[in-house]
Amino acid sequence: MRESIKKIMSSQLVIPLFSLFLLVVFNLVRDPGFFSISIATNNQGYRVLSGNLISIFNGASAIAIISIGMTPITSCCRGQDISVAAVAAIAGSVFVSVLRSNEITVPVIIFAFVCSCLVSVLFSLFNGVLVAVFRIQPMIATLILFSAGRSIAYWINGGATPTVSSPLLASIGGFIPGIPIPTPIIIMVLFLVLISIVLRLTTLGLYTQVVGINEGTAHLNGIDPVRVKLVSFVISGICVATAGCITVCRIGLINHETLLLDAEMDVILAVAIGGTSLGGGKFSLFGSVIGAYIIQALTVTLYAMKVPSAAVKAYKAAVIILIVMLSSPVVKEFFINLYRKSFKKQAEKKKITISAS
């Protein structure tokens, strides 16, 4: 029993799961019906699942997907990519451009997605080369696209905010007729499964962690750190493109200024809450996804409490601070010492009773 408690306590997922648990409890106490899922009829007349819980999972999809891409970068490059939202805007712009110049059919959508992936990967590789080859700190290297990215997106669309609409796109951003679960959630799950398979069938997980923990050692054991880092940026590029396209489908237009605004901050928070150290090394994809859901759950909870949207940031910040404080090494040690002291007392009590008997 003690062994399994120890294992759980030291697992990376403790804090995120615990935080999620707290959020759930808080909401249930506040409003028992908060998490109820009901079946409603949406605009197209189909029966779909709806409710706060669905809203949380749905809204977090884009962030969660980007977090999946950000996690390996954080792990092996020991820093954050703050340009993800800007590159998502670029990807979204490309997606819209291609769609607008053609009739929107399924093959066209796929083609548009592939194009946006390619462009996104290209920009990610730009970041990747700066980080891996020129050995520039990730946060600094990605500052470039952070500043210029949205403007590049703007420029791709000729300085406008064009709209695209089509039932097909709506079904990607919303619901596929007949399936009650919102499509973004499905896409996210698919992504997670895909990446997990990649991690299982290749040594990418091990290599990424080794490079992140000690690059020199990685080199001396035959790993090419440059290649590993570039691969992590490619993966991120694909994730970012997916998130950008989903968001475009959901809102039906591309606004370079507001698309996934401040998303990079949410993503970094998700990764941090999820248990991956921002300084590189061991990572947890699952944790990052949970982190994304925590952040979204927080947002939805706040909206449900009638907090105005501009003020949501403040409350988010307060909760984040709390969570991060609880998972800080100092606090952890405090609790471990407490735990040990209480155990010592128990053990001593036992000793006394034994020796007394």
Binding site: I140, G149, Y154
Partner: protein, 372 residues
């Protein structure tokens, strides 16, 4: 830029008496870049660049940014980061305006409030980073969110300051005699400096003195160089880091007041992107994110260079808004690459550079090397 050439080859340093430190080197490059750019602009685009007021406006419009960047320099030298600058600035503007307008506040009161808010945030950041050992990026990110969020809680809509005593302060100008330009009607309009600029320059000087001559400042460099060593050398790392963040917060508060003096209004969109621009100013100015290297003079010229680029872009006719940030991005790219190149060359040069005592006198052969 002769200095560049000498230093890029690295080897020529051997002839110098004492190779200049990384800090000084990078700063020199920035200063040269700025002056080079400005002089070139004066020659190529003439127009506005020949107007001294435009040069002074670089300071007038961006005094607040300079102040945030100075605070950031101190934090970055110690190896940390603070991205809450813009948020605190904006919050201060809103709170001060509301105080002045709705609560009949005094100018002195508003100054105290701005300092107080800055200190409060700095305190929070300092405690979380030094006592709880949480990563500064997250802490200051949360701080930024908190600040920006609180703005709308104070007031949803933008507010303008109309209180008289404040307006008098806001409209005060220092006129430079003799320097000026000819307006459209042919009148000579002397160049003017806003009060915020005086504050900003004073802060630059103060921070420069702190960094060069005080124990606190030197401790920042030590911690940035090797925080474990700093600890064993007897430096109270926790306390020093705490004060670095406290100072950065305080400076953000001051920056808020200066911003208010400049625009006279509180608005949730104030100082947008300020923190990233402050970071960019630092990077261009030669402050390394990894710590241990940095200089406020460099930051000052980094900021000037950054803003000059914007002016150049406008002057060259590229008026579409996206050109500005694209050029900013390009400039950043250039400087980042330049810095990493120079540092890499210096590192290589150093490994081969034998300390003088190792070079034998008689035979002239190379002696032992450091590596083994």
């Amino acid at each position: 830029m002769k200095k560049d050439r000498d230093l890029l080859t690295g080897k020529t340093e051997k002839k110098r008496r004492e190779p200049i430190s990384n800090t000084t080197l990078l700063m020199t490059i920035t200063v040269c870049t700025f002056f080079g750019m400005y002089l070139l602009s004066m020659m190529i685009w003439k127009g506005g660049f020949l107007n001294p007021q435009q040069f002074l406006d670089l300071f007038n419009n961006n005094a607040y940014l300079l102040i945030i960047a100075c605070g950031l320099t101190m934090v970055m030298i110690s190896g940390g980061i603070d991205i809450s600058g813009g948020g605190i600035t904006a919050l201060v503007t809103m709170v001060c305006v509301v105080y002045l307008e709705d609560h009949g506040g005094t100018v002195l009161g508003s100054i105290l409030i701005s300092l107080g808010i800055g200190l409060a945030f700095g305190l929070m950041h300092g405690i979380l980073v030094s006592c709880f050992e949480i990563q500064p990026f997250i802490v200051t990110l949360a701080g930024m969110f908190l600040a920006r969020g609180m703005i709308t809680i104070v007031s949803i809509a933008p507010r303008t300051a109309t209180q008289e005593s404040f307006l008098r302060l806001k409209q005060a100008r220092i006129t430079l005699p003799g320097i000026g330009y000819y307006g459209k009607t042919g009148n000579f309009i002397p160049a003017q400096i806003e009060p915020g600029v005086i504050i900003a320059i004073s802060i630059v000087v103060i921070v420069a003195v702190i960094l060069k001559w005080t124990r606190f400042g030197r401790n920042l460099y030590a911690i940035g160089g090797n925080s474990h060593s700093a600890l064993t050398l007897g430096i109270n790392v926790k306390r020093t880091k705490f004060f670095a963040y406290l100072a950065a917060g305080l400076l953000s508060g001051i920056s808020g007041y200066v911003y208010l003096l400049h625009t006279g209004a509180g608005d949730a969109a104030n100082a947008a992107q300020a923190e990233m621009q402050a970071i960019a100013s630092n990077i261009i100015g030669g402050t390394l994110l990894t710590g241990g290297v940095g200089n406020v003079i460099g930051t000052l010229f980094g900021m000037l260079s950054l803003k000059t680029i914007t002016n150049i872009v406008i002057a060259s006719g590229l008026t579409k808004p996206y050109y500005q940030s694209i050029t900013t991005g390009l400039m950043l790219c250039f400087f980042i690459l330049l810095q990493s190149l120079i540092l890499a060359v210096r590192e290589k040069g150093r490994v081969r550079l034998l300390p003088e005592w190792m070079r034998p006198g008689k035979t002239g052969k190379t002696g032992k090397t450091e590596s083994h």
